[in-house]
Amino acid sequence: MANITSNTESQRLTFWERIYLPEIAKGLGLTFKQMFKPSFTRQYPEERWIPEGSYRGRPVLVLEEDGERCVACGLCSRVCPALAIEVRAAETDMDKERYPEKFEINMLRCIYCGFCEEVCPEEAIVMSKDYELVFSSQEEGIFGKDKLLVPIAQLQERLEFLRQWR
């Protein structure tokens, strides 16, 4: 037991550090300086953040001039880990032959993983920039085609991002 050395925090302090007051003055100086720095606050309802193309907001269906791109293959519904998507296919006279008669995403279940977008062969379902999702009831949280279809012009940035990085 002869060569035990102790090196505790209190032993490492110098005399001036041990009497606290100069260190407290230093701390006060630091907080005083902080007072004159600009704040990081965003005044939310007035100033809104517009995300980059890489942002995964709520998933939407791409709407072109002649209707939606979706061919109702059901892959998104199959891959969805949260089982949030329900698709019912029907036939159409157009070239693509099939279209979703019913397309519902339960936004209460969606986890914004982006698997549906990744698996989609037609680039028909993509993640949008929309992050403001508010419901007042559970029923309102289930988005049908009326809410999901978004004109392609609004989704250009995301589509470009997908083409570049996917």
Partner: protein
Amino acid sequence: MSLIQLIIIVIQATILLTLMLVCAAYMVLAERKIAAWIQNRVGPNRVGPWGLFQSFADVIKLNLKEDIVPAAADYKFHALAPVIAIGVAITVYAIIPFSGPLVEIDGIQYGLSMAPNMNIGILAMLAMTSVGVYGIALAGWSSNNKYSLMGGLRSAAQMISYELSMGLAIIGVVLIAGSLNLIEIIQAQTSGIWYIFLQPAGFILFFITALAETNRAPFDLPEAEPELVGGYHTEYSGMKFGLLYLAEYANILASSAIMAALYLGGWDAIPFLDDSAILGLAPNSIPLVLLGHVVFLTKAFALVFVFIWVRWSLPRFRYDQLMNLGWKVLLPISLINVILTGLGVLLFQ
């Protein structure tokens, strides 16, 4: 006591109370704003320009809230505790000398202060702050909640241990001024030097103990949120909570004002020199007295700012550290301060 005197005293008290309550309400806003600036935030800014009406919104909200009393609480004492707390906090304002007298009616001089010429001024202040612990201890005990009780007990222990050092710090000033009367203490400073230059250690001691007496960070153990939920006011809601909160801020303003009077020369605008001679005004003339009010309140609010600033800079003490600091550090230093001051007074006066 004549009727006129009574009416004047009621008017004085009304003005003083209103002033104090508005100041306390705005100190809450100042606290939130300064905290926000220190943390690079904006702070309340929605109610009125720069959030200036936030205080009124808070008071209206507190008044409209449901007043919940726990089933296990002792109802009478639960209701009495905030009244004691705010009553004691208000009483201290009676002895604060904001400035000299403004008007003279029937040979008696009246100013903003109620009883500034009380010959035991500082002792009355010490006595009232000691009674203040009853409000907090009672609030903690009558809530019948273990966290409230812990908060109340901590507050009692802390206030009693720091009261000693505070009293001894004041003795230094009393020795030099030779009086307990606050007006005489200030008048001794207006012509001479401020006591902060004669009693720097005493000022720091008084400031630290005042932080502990008003339960402010870094000594806010009675309301340590991480350990005690809310401390002694855990079981309070509505305006009863508001009163406890108001009492805390009223106490801060009172200790700041006392500090301004004892150490910073009270209403004296220019240190080391005689104000009335420089400004060309007769002593106790109305403009000088009005200037005195502004100067006194400026000093008090500057100290309030330091209170808030310290709160948002320093972490909280642990309970054993608090007791060690009070008994093993502050008490010996204040005793040495008293002895040295006594020697100085003996040698130089």
